[in-house]
Symmetry: C2
Subunit: 541 residues, 2 copies
């Protein structure tokens, strides 16, 4: 009868300590977002399927969690179910045979199929068919078959036709039983929000959003089916200052989290376009950057070999030779790129944009992060149109990127609002959590446990304690009364297991003298004090 | 091509202002929860269907949002689809006919059906059938039919059997295509959490949880398909002090929200049981309380009439006569109840419990709420076993309950952990929001907009401003640079539309003198200041 409780794979329960640590990260990011002038919005957990489907590629569509229509969705499934279709096909086929028998249409004539269809449409019982089929092609193929098969083959004909129908019908069935889907990221809902509320929004619009998203990905270490995204975006401005600001914002958040030594990698899509121009073929760009990224591991020769194997010409490899020795300061890198991309208009624009951002950041200074120009950075290649960001954890921690983002020139176009440029970044909460845990950077997080426990030694004593509790709580001191007048040992054990800092003991003598016995559970120290002293001591430590 | 963007009915987007106001309520509740020693937990948005289904009654099951299995769920649908089943039935039927022909089983013998089934099971091709059917009854009825019908009737037989199968198969199909469902409330996931993590939990466990829940209810004013619940519960103690504490907690939260004059209604399930004992029939209890609740509207006679019409005996009505004139202070009510329920053991226990809570609350005092004993309070009747709470808004606001809760003695029993008593309360965020809005109690909420806007008059000026911005932001002053060097009028218009308090103007002369021109947008006042003064002024106002 009783179920062994569990949760779906890829999801997590969070204990009080985990919630506190996660909230510490959230509130740090949130505070910085707001200090930089970003405003929060929230969107619903599920969107209309049409809002999400087709926005993340085929793989994305597959990974979107779909919600079953509520109510009598199953009735709908059966209404349009395959059995009904199968039977309809059978009777339709019989109808075709009978029409053919009754009329004397010329099978080899030009209009044979049309004549049959026209007869079918006259019969109300079969006209509904056009709801399914939408065009005549499938029916035509059924008519074709009718002459080729013998009538005994009716099951074969119907089966064959049914398969054909099915492959065109699955999408229709999905959309009938599911019209809503869980949010897959925060960007598409944000784009939808901007278009839907464009008349209420003051542009440039700086918004942040920290909400869970859901993906039906195969769960693995650090990858979950429900996880939070923390995004900040500006839409409605092409200003490079925004790109500068996001570098500062990353630096500010990670510095506040005491995560020293992160690297903010920076690139620009236009530089990648310039390189593509130089290597001659745009479609080789990803192969190119992947190979180039291996420079440290396989050396110049290895990279060249891999590029050749991917179809990049020897001539092209020669042209981009400087990238094989792409070292030095950001300024030196910029100078090399400027020379390399001198003949590409777009590439040169990219160098100028990057130079503006790099110069501004270097001029303004960073607190703890390193800024590194990285031409192999190509995340979301088909998506970003300008700046590309990625943040990596300090080198002593093994962890992929802990944040990323970039500029996209036509975010809201899919929803009909053209030419709104946006630039945004995202923080990878779960990975940041793991990094802070590994580096022991949660030690200052205040855990959500009471600071003071009043022992419960009986009804009168408890009443006395409850009065004191009101005073502590008014001062915001987390405190509680042990609910039952259990044995002292059990109550102290509770205090120890929860690592509560102070225990207050009230017996008859304390009540008579209007005092409290305060025990520091860490030091073991014990003292008698009045109410004011109790508040003062527990609030200060 | 472009879609007109919209969101599913019953869901909402929240604008920055709305998020800020909602967060003000959340953080007030959260702060009080933590001050009272409650710890946060979080559970996944979706649970295994088996965790949720059957916990909220038939209506609840219908209102739970189900999530389609990811990946090739449609393949699964078709694998077990009605067409396949239909065809399987057909071939199964043919199999039965051929088995009957080949063997010479005695149709009128005792084991005819079993013999056929045993033959079917020998054939691997048909053994899969038992996955569908699970018991032999359906197949037996198919075998029965075989002798009654002529073989030409095969379509009729299969159709008939198929209908029979279908009615037993729908649930199975649902569970094949959907194994997860969105959280319907926070209580069942909490019970699941407690059982699953019982070895890591220190009891009594005081937890709070503030997360969205989803219900496929018909949306209407104030009722949404996605909404937040804010729950606090203690499990593992039967102490009445907890029941006292929740009254204080309600009072504390609403006082902090400046919502003065709420009424905390209190009842006890045992008192309702006592009344049920007196009126003779337990199943009349709900009719009884509903009728009694109308006393103000329809008077004593009207109530008695309604009770009679519901089948409550005249004698019973006479017995509970005192409840018809149930007025006065809580103490007076308690005395009346004590007398009325003197012969009911459980009722008397209820009076004693209530008296303890009422006495303690009155002794300790409340800040702004009224405590009111209400015997008609019967929410969640089948659920609660002790205290029952409900909070109503101040009388000048038309709004139903803005909070409620109670004690349940066997919360975790459904998941196999017996005898864990719990008591908890919930805050109705959306209704509290509407009440605060109506009473204009959001006026102190700091909106998430920048306090200071630096105008952008060109690249050099912007650089100068960005340097100052770093200082303001380090002090936590929400501030930003207008991203583009647009016309001054456009920039000031932006500041006005966002109601930004201060604008900083930096031109050539300001840069030369290391000054800033600071304009107070409300007063129109303008002054020249240095960086330190800029920080000091904007931080203080």
């Amino acid at each position: 009868m009783a179920q062994k409780p569990s949760i779906p794979k890829g999801t997590r329960d969070f204990s009080p300590t985990e919630v506190a640590k996660r909230n510490y990260i959230f509130s740090t990011i949130k505070q910085v977002f707001e200090t930089y002038g970003f405003q929060p919005i929230e969107t619903p957990s599920f969107e209309n399927s049409s809002t999400l489907m087709g926005k993340y590629g085929e793989e994305g569509d597959r990974l979107i969690f779909k919600i079953l229509n509520s109510g009598d969705y199953l009735k709908k499934v059966f209404e349009i179910s395959d059995l009904r279709i199968y039977k309809d096909i059978k009777s339709l086929f019989k109808k075709i045979v009978s029409i053919d028998k009754k009329n004397n249409f010329d099978y080899y004539g030009k209009n044979y199929q049309e004549s049959i269809i026209s007869e079918i449409k006259k019969d109300l019982k079969f006209s509904f068919y056009y709801e399914y089929i939408q065009d005549d092609n499938l029916i035509k193929s059924l008519i074709d078959r009718f002459k080729l098969y013998k009538s005994e083959d009716i099951d074969l004909i119907v089966d064959d036709y049914y398969k054909k129908y099915l492959s065109s019908g699955i999408t229709r069935i999905t959309s009938k039983i599911s019209e809503k889907a869980l949010r897959y990221d925060l960007t598409v809902p944000f784009a939808r929000y901007v278009v839907q509320h464009q008349n209420d929004i003051v542009f440039p619009f700086k918004r942040y959003q920290m909400q869970p998203v859901w993906r039906a990905d195969r769960p693995q270490k650090g990858r979950f089916r429900e996880f939070y995204q923390c995004d900040a975006d500006v839409v409605g401005s092409k200003s490079l200052w925004q790109e500068v600001e996001f570098v500062q914002l990353y630096d500010d958040v990670f510095s506040k989290l005491k995560l020293i030594g992160t690297t903010i990698k920076l690139n620009n899509r236009k530089i990648l376009s310039g390189i593509a121009e130089i290597i001659g073929e745009k479609d080789k760009l990803i192969d190119f950057t992947i190979a180039l990224d291996k420079l440290d591991k396989i050396g110049e020769e290895g990279v060249a070999k891999e590029m050749l194997s991917k179809g990049i010409s020897e001539e092209a490899i020669k042209k981009v030779q400087p990238l094989f020795n792409f070292k030095g300061s950001n300024q030196e890198k910029l100078n090399q790129l400027q020379e390399l991309l001198a003949n590409s208009v777009e590439g040169t624009q990219g160098v100028n944009d990057l130079r503006f951002v790099v110069n501004a950041v270097e001029n303004l200074g960073l607190q703890s992060a390193n800024l590194e120009l990285d031409v192999t950075l190509a995340r979301g290649l088909n998506y970003y149109t300008g700046a590309i960001y990625e943040v990596t954890a300090p080198k002593n921690v093994k962890m992929g990127s802990i944040g990323g983002g970039g500029r996209y020139d036509d975010l809201t176009g899919i929803f009909g609002l053209k030419d709104i440029s946006g630039v945004g970044i995202s923080f990878g909460l779960d990975r940041i959590y793991l990094v802070l845990e590994e580096l022991d950077l949660f030690n200052q997080v205040e855990l959500p446990k009471p600071k003071v426990l009043f022992l419960n030694l009986g009804e009168q004593e408890a009443t006395y304690c409850m009065k004191a509790l009101i005073n502590l709580r008014n001062k915001g001191i987390k405190s509680e009364l042990y609910p039952d007048a259990s044995k002292m040992k059990k109550q102290l054990n509770y205090a120890n297991r929860r690592a509560i800092q102070f225990v207050v003991i009230v017996g008859t003598s304390e009540m008579e003298n209007k005092k409290f016995t305060l025990k520091n559970m860490q030091s073991g120290e014990q003292q008698t004090c009045n109410l004011q002293e109790l508040v003062d001591i527990t609030i200060s430590l």
